[in-house]
Amino acid sequence: MTSNQPGFRVLRALVIAGVTFAALWFGLRFLSDPVAFAGMPANLSKLVQALIAVVLGVAGIWALFYAGNAIIEALPAKATEILRPYLFVLPAVAVVGLYLIYPTVGTVATSLTDVPEGESFFYNYSQAFTNPDVLLALRNNFIWLLIAPLVSVVIGLVFAGMVDKIRLESLAKSFVFMPLAISFVGAAVIWKFVYAWKPAGQPQIGILNAFWVWAGGFLVDLGVISEVEPIAWLQVIPVNTLALIAIMIWLQVGFAMVVLSAAIKGVPAELTEAAQIDGATERQIFVRITVPSIWGALLTVYTTIAIAVLKVFDLIFVTTGGNLDTSVVAVRQYQEMFRFRNFGQATTMAVILLVAVIPIMVVNIRNLRRQGVGA
């Protein structure tokens, strides 16, 4: 029997598919309970489990495609031609359908229908918009949206413009860029130390309060103010929200700086040189020529940070837990979901986020497409 005979292809497809499914089935059984399944001692099993999990996840997805292809190629030629494209696109479409389309529809539907007997579809929304806690969260999201993207873009732009002129440019950029690799949870821990507070009179262990007390001490000596108190930055309302926003800015400036720096380097040298010959100062060139030339990049950075800010969750959840007037919509959603088990309100929060994100996202994608990204 040669490899071109249909019988061989069918047999081959069956063997490949059988082996793949059997391996995946045993692998997944093992993963779900390694100790019971293979009788392994618990401490050894962790590393073995890790190895098997990684191999299973990585090789498994490839084996599935390979098996799928073997099956399709074993079919009559005409069926192969028709089905083949779907082997390529349907897995992605199916996963996206399950994890994004289905739940999005479900979320909107739940927010409208998960209401007490006899109430209207908009019950959850009218509840939300009359609940002072939700209004507070919305207000905070608005404050975040107002401050964080703008400040990040401005600092990123100014830094990108300045660093373009100095030696050690890439070193300086690396330092500002580094927080991008740090998680929100990690950043929250880092800044808990920056904001640490000790009662007046004790040595401050947080650098911000140490600086605050030290600088305030000068002003006291000068007679400008009468006394200086260390501040519990994450507890005092409304300073705490601003302190949290500062962490977000710290995380996002690197992104703004890198994108804008690359854009600045792309401004044609003839433009700036011509202006220089005409006697324009550095600052005039920057404001009148560089900034307008990189408008697309500025818009991308601004909208991207704005979306990240609207969805902010981890930072607040880990630092203040949304207490002390720092809550935002995403934190509210989590609390409705897990603390109050109120899925109607939780989904309503999600829909509010969606409605807020859509216009910004549309601007972002259109802007990217204008610049030639994607299709």
Binding site: L31, S32, A50, A53, V54, G57, V58, I61, E73, R84, L87, F88, V89, P91, A92, V93, V96, Y99, L100, T104, T107, V163, K165, A172, F175, V176, M178, P179, A181, I182, S183, V185, G186, K192, V194, P203, Q204, I205, I207, W250, V253, G254, V258, G266, A297, I307, L310, K311, D314, T319, Q333, A346, L353, L354, M361, L368, Q371, V373, G374, A375
Partner: protein
């Protein structure tokens, strides 16, 4: 980034922009003192918080809770440097297990979406079938959906099927949330590959499957790498998806979850918190520093992650 300057290239395809012909030294030296001082100040502001954490992680609990980290920096010889914090979080603290869990979650959660997206991008770009533009349009449109929309319905499914707390469950969740961006980016790359390439391969008897594995994948390595780093960092640093779908049980808790629980339960155990935070940041920082070029390239392209 490059797109901004060069509308003809897709960003993930284009190499990191070649530095403009280097300015002459005298021109570079023109930066004023004001500029230099400002740059230095910003760099200091952006570095000190992390540096403080790093230094505190090597100090004893008594020292880190009574004096600022900078006192040790100024008096390095009077300081009682120690590795105990790391030893105790990695030993009894359960952090080692969390580190392994993070790897178990992150590696497949990076490879699976890239694989699915690469197959799909090739299918959308080069194969003709019914519903092609509709399906592609739907996937791209899903870029606008924040993952918060998925939480309640997916949680209900997961609790119903027992997928909560399973690694397969979180792999698939990260795959679903990462796919629209991955397809969007890889399509941008794969659809502009030269047509002749495929024609000669098909004449030689290649099937679309072999053309994909032997030609498209090797050629797409830069785009795949950019997305891989982006997704790796995203998944490693993720907190919300892990919290909802994996939960805080210590068998499966990843580093961010473990770290957050230390903040919650032992928030005043400063010395342990610092070491734990550093352990969680180590791998992303290494990946990031080693592969910075690819990361920068993927960054703008990745800016639309939902």
């Amino acid at each position: 980034m490059t797109v901004v300057v060069d509308p003809e290239s897709t960003p993930e395809l284009a190499p990191v922009p070649a530095k403009r012909p280097r300015r002459r030294r005298d021109e570079q030296a023109k930066a004023s003192w004001l500029v230099r001082v400002s740059v230095f100040l910003i760099v200091a502001l952006w570095t000190l918080p992390t540096l403080g954490l790093l230094i505190n992680s090597f100090r004893t609990s008594t020292e880190s809770s009574s004096t600022g980290w900078w006192t040790s920096l100024f008096n390095p010889f009077a300081t009682d440097w120690t590795l105990d914090n790391y030893a105790s979080v990695l030993g009894s603290g359960g952090l080692f297990e969390a580190l392994v869990n993070s790897l178990i979650v992150t590696i497949p959660s990076t490879v699976i979406p890239i694989t699915l997206a690469a197959f799909a991008a090739y299918g959308f770009a080069w194969l003709r079938f019914k519903g092609r533009s509709l399906l592609f349009g739907i996937i791209v449109a899903l870029l606008v959906v924040p993952l918060q929309l998925a939480l309640v319905p997916m949680l209900q499914i997961y609790q119903g099927t027992g997928l909560t707390g399973s690694f397969v469950g979180i792999w698939l969740a990260h795959t679903g949330f990462g796919l629209p961006l991955a397809v969007f980016l890889l399509y941008g790359f794969i659809s502009v590959l030269p047509k002749d390439l495929f024609e000669s391969a098909f004449i030689d008897g290649a099937t679309p499957f072999t053309a994909f594995t032997k030609l498209v994948l090797p050629l797409s390595v830069p785009a795949l790498a950019s997305f891989a780093i982006f997704q790796f960092l995203w998944v490693w640093n993720d907190f919300l998806v892990a919290l909802v779908f994996l939960g805080p049980s210590s068998d499966v808790a990843v580093l961010t979850i473990e770290l957050a629980s230390i903040v919650g339960s032992r928030g005043e155990a400063y010395h342990l918190l610092t070491a734990a935070a550093f352990v969680s940041m180590l791998i992303p920082l290494v990946v990031f520093i080693a592969l910075q070029r690819y990361f920068v390239r993927g960054l703008l392209a990745g800016s639309v992650k939902g």
